[in-house]
C-alpha cells in the first residue's frame, strides 16, 4: 500500500499541519484540564493601570 504522505501526494504538504493539530489538541486539553489560562493572567501578579481608565472618563 502506498504511503499517503509520500512526496508528491496530496497529503505531503499538510503532513506537518496534521502534527500541529495533534500538538495543539494535546496542549489545549492539558491547559483545559489543569485549569490553566493559556497566554493569560495566572495569579501571583497584580493587574495595573485601572486608574487610567477612571481618569479618562472624568
Amino acid at each position: 500500500m502506498n504511503n499517503p504522505f509520500r512526496p508528491g501526494s496530496d497529503w505531503y504538504p499538510v503532513r506537518w499541519f496534521l502534527v500541529l493539530i495533534a500538538l495543539l489538541t494535546m496542549s489545549m486539553s492539558y491547559f483545559d484540564y489543569t485549569g490553566n489560562r493559556f497566554l493569560g493572567y495566572t495569579g501571583n501578579q497584580s493587574r495595573n493601570g485601572y486608574y487610567g481608565s477612571h481618569y479618562y472618563h472624568k
Binding site: 508528491g8 485549569g35 490553566n36 489560562r37
Partner: protein, 640 residues
C-alpha cells in the same frame, strides 16, 4: 494434416509445420517461406516480408501472464508506420485463445477482438478527423485520437492476422476512463476492432526473453566520414552526427537513413553525456540522444531534452529548463480530448490546466531519437497541461493525431546522485512542476475544518468532566465611612491535582468603581496566590451622544492552583472621590473551582489558523511564480 492436429507441410520445402493455434493463419517456415492457411485448411505460399533482425526483448517462446491467465508468444507482425515501428505479437492463452500483445516505445497493450455496438463501416472510420467522435459503445462518446498508415508489415513465427493488403490503416479510438479500441482496416472493406488494454511491462511477468545483445544500425556520415551507431533501430527513426551535426532520418519506405540538413547550432552543450547510465523511478536508463529545442514563436524559449532508453521500458525524456528537470514518458492510458484546443483536461478525477501551447524548432542534436524529430512537415503542436507535480503533454500532428506523454518533476539532487558525472546547471527559475509551495487547497480547507472540530470537541469534552463547584459565595459590604474592608472566607478544599478558581464579581457601580484584591492562602504551607479585579461602570453624554464603559459584572481567574486546603482573604476598596457616603458599598463575590475557560479554545483555534493562512499565501506566491512564463496564466496583472 489439418486444424485438428495442427500438422501441415510447408508448401515451399515440404518440411513439417506445426500450428499451435487453430485461429492463426500464417506461419513462417524455417526455410523462409510464408505459409498461409486458407479457410479450406489448405496451405499456400504467401508473399510478404519476414523479420531478419532479432533485437527485441520479446521473442517467440516468451511466456507471460495477463489477468491471471498465462500465455505464450508464438509470432508477430511488425508494422512500419510513418515514423515509428510497432510489434503486434501473437499470443496464445492456455485455453488456445489467441490475442495480440502490442508493444513499442515502452508501451504494452493486450488486444482482443470486439464488435462495436453500432454497425461501423470502414467508410465511417476513414472519414473521421482527429478528435471527431463516433459511437463504438452506446453509453460514452469515443474520439479518434490517432490514425496511422502501415506502409510495410513483416512476419515472424506463427501469426494471428487476417488477409490484408500490403499497406493498411489503423485508427485509435479512445473514450474517457482509459477505454481504447483500435480499428485496423486490413482490406478496403474489412475492418477488425480490437479492445486495447494498456498494461505495465512488469505486470506481464514475461519470461524466456531474448537476452542477446542488440545489434546497432550503422549510419555513415559522409560529411565527416564517421559511423553513427543507432542502438535502438528500428524504433529510433532519426539520428544526428555528434561530430558535425548532420541530421539523418529513416525515410521513404525502407530506403534507409536519408541525410538531412545540419544543426543550426552544434555546440553539443550536454549536461549529461550520451552513454551515461542512471536510474530514474526505478528504471535503469542510458542516455542515447540530446536535442536543444526552441519554441517556434517570438518568445523562442529554449530547453534541452535528453532521450533515455531502457530495453524493456522503452524511451523516456529528461527535459531541462532554467535548471529545473522534468521526466516524461509516453503513455497509452491518457486523457482523451474531443476538441482541437482544450483549455483544460480531466484525467482520473484531476483537472489539468493549459500551461503552454507551441510548435518547436530543433536547434542542436546529438545521438538518436524515437520517431523523426526533424520532420517539420508534420507541423506538430505541443500542449502542456499541469496539475503539479504532474504534467500531461500532447503532441499532435495534423495527419497522425495525438501522442500523450506524462511528465513529472525530478529533483536535481536525485538526478545528480543517479548521474554523478553530470554537470547540472543551477536552477534559476521556479520549475513548472516544482512541488514546493504546492498545496491541495480543498484538502487544506477540509483539514483545517477537521482541526477546528477536533479542538472544539476536545475542549468541551474536558469541560464536561470539570467539577464547577462553588467554594465561596458572599455579599461583601463596606461600612459607610471606610474606603476599604477585608473579609476572610471559611476554609475549603480543592480536590483536583491542579485546577482553577473563577471569581464572579457583581457590584451596582454607577460612574464609579469597586476593586477586589483577593489572596488565596494554602492553609497547609502558607503559599499565597493573589488576584486583583476592578468592577467599574461609567456612562454619560458627550456632544449629544451617550456613551458607556465597563460593566457591573466581572470575572477573574486564578489558574492552575495545586490541590489542598485553602482560605480566601478578600480586600474590597471603593471609589471615594465623591465622598464615601455616596459611594457603592456592595460587592457580591462567588468563587467556583474547576471551571472551563473558553478563552483557551479561541487562542488555540487562532494558532491553528496560522498554518492554513501562511500556507495559502505561500501557495499563491509560488503559483504566480510557476505561471509567470505561461501565456495562459490565471494570475494576470493589469498593465497600466
Amino acid at each position: 494434416m489439418g486444424k485438428e492436429t495442427g500438422l501441415y507441410q510447408c508448401p515451399a520445402c515440404s518440411q513439417s509445420l506445426i500450428f499451435q493455434s487453430k485461429e492463426t493463419r500464417i506461419k513462417v517456415c524455417t526455410c523462409g517461406a510464408i505459409a498461409n492457411r486458407l479457410e479450406s485448411d489448405d496451405l499456400v505460399k504467401k508473399s510478404a516480408f519476414t523479420i531478419g533482425d532479432h533485437n527485441d526483448l520479446i521473442q517467440p517462446g516468451t511466456t507471460g501472464t495477463y489477468k491471471g491467465q498465462s500465455f505464450e508468444v508464438i509470432g508477430r507482425f511488425r508494422l512500419w508506420l510513418a515514423e515509428s515501428v510497432y510489434n503486434y505479437w501473437t499470443i496464445v492463452f492456455a485455453g488456445g485463445t489467441p490475442a495480440i500483445l502490442a508493444e513499442g516505445y515502452g508501451m504494452y497493450a493486450i488486444l482482443q477482438t470486439m464488435r462495436p455496438e453500432s454497425n461501423i463501416t470502414a467508410w465511417d472510420i476513414s472519414r473521421l478527423e482527429v478528435a471527431d467522435s463516433i459511437s463504438v459503445t452506446n453509453e460514452v462518446p469515443w474520439y479518434l485520437q490517432r490514425r496511422d498508415k502501415a506502409w510495410k508489415y513483416e512476419l515472424e513465427g506463427e501469426v494471428w492476422m487476417p488477409e490484408c493488403t500490403d499497406q493498411f490503416e489503423l485508427f485509435d479510438l479512445y473514450a474517457r476512463g482509459d477505454r481504447h479500441v483500435e480499428a485496423i482496416q486490413y482490406l478496403k472493406d474489412y475492418i477488425v476492432f480490437y479492445n486495447v488494454d494498456f498494461v505495465e511491462y512488469s505486470s506481464l511477468n514475461l519470461q524466456n526473453l531474448n537476452t542477446g545483445t542488440p545489434e546497432p544500425k550503422q549510419v555513415f556520415c559522409a560529411n565527416c566520414n564517421t559511423n553513427i551507431e543507432v542502438k535502438t533501430f528500428p524504433y529510433a527513426q532519426s539520428c544526428s552526427c555528434t561530430g558535425c551535426g548532420t541530421r539523418f532520418a529513416f525515410k521513404d519506405a525502407g530506403s534507409g537513413f536519408r541525410t538531412l540538413k545540419q544543426d543550426t547550432g552544434n555546440d553539443n552543450a550536454l549536461a549529461i553525456q550520451l552513454g551515461s547510465k542512471g536510474t530514474i523511478k526505478g528504471i535503469d536508463y542510458e542516455v542515447i540522444g540530446y536535442a536543444l529545442k526552441e519554441e517556434d514563436n517570438a518568445e523562442a524559449a529554449r530547453w534541452k531534452e535528453y532521450v533515455l532508453y531502457n530495453r524493456a521500458e522503452g524511451y523516456a525524456f529528461l527535459s531541462e529548463y532554467a535548471g529545473s528537470w522534468l521526466y516524461a514518458r509516453e503513455r497509452g492510458n491518457s486523457p482523451v480530448i474531443g476538441s482541437n484546443s482544450p483549455d483544460s483536461i480531466y484525467y482520473k478525477g484531476a483537472e489539468y490546466d493549459l500551461y503552454n501551447r507551441y510548435s518547436i524548432r530543433i536547434v542542436d542534436t546529438a545521438g538518436e531519437f524515437p520517431y523523426d524529430i526533424f520532420d517539420d512537415e508534420r507541423k506538430i503542436v505541443s500542449a502542456e497541461f499541469i496539475a503539479p507535480p504532474i504534467m500531461w503533454i500532447y503532441e499532435r500532428s495534423r495527419e497522425e493525431g495525438i501522442n500523450w506523454f506524462v511528465g513529472e518533476h525530478l529533483d536535481k539532487k536525485e538526478l545528480e546522485r543517479q548521474f554523478p558525472g553530470a554537470a547540472l546547471p543551477a536552477q534559476t527559475e521556479r520549475g513548472v512542476l516544482d512541488p514546493r509551495g504546492r498545496t491541495n487547497l480543498p484538502l487544506l480547507i477540509k483539514t483545517t475544518f477537521a482541526g477546528i472540530i477536533i479542538l472544539t470537541l476536545v475542549h468541551f469534552l474536558v469541560g464536561f468532566g470539570q467539577q464547577q463547584r462553588t467554594v465561596f459565595s458572599g455579599d461583601l459590604q463596606l461600612r459607610d465611612s471606610t474606603a476599604s474592608s477585608t473579609f476572610v472566607s471559611p476554609k475549603f478544599t480543592l480536590h483536583k491535582w491542579r485546577s482553577n478558581l473563577a471569581f464572579d464579581l457583581t457590584s451596582p457601580v454607577d460612574n464609579n468603581w469597586i476593586d477586589m484584591e483577593a489572596t488565596l492562602v494554602n492553609a497547609g504551607n502558607g503559599q499565597e496566590y493573589s488576584l486583583q479585579q476592578t468592577v467599574e461602570y461609567y456612562h454619560g453624554v458627550d456632544d449629544g451622544e451617550s456613551w458607556s464603559d465597563g460593566d457591573t459584572h466581572e470575572t477573574a481567574y486564578l489558574s492552575s492552583i495545586p490541590g489542598g486546603d485553602y482560605f480566601l482573604r478578600i480586600e474590597a476598596s471603593r471609589d471615594t472621590t465623591n465622598g464615601a457616603w455616596s459611594s457603592v458599598r456592595d460587592l457580591a463575590v462567588t468563587v467556583k473551582n474547576d471551571v472551563p475557560m473558553h478563552r483557551n479554545l479561541f487562542i488555540f483555534l487562532g494558532m491553528l489558523l496560522v498554518w492554513p493562512v501562511v500556507a495559502y499565501i505561500w501557495f499563491y506566491v509560488n503559483e504566480r511564480r510557476r505561471w509567470q512564463n505561461s501565456p495562459y496564466t490565471p494570475y494576470k496583472t493589469t498593465s497600466s
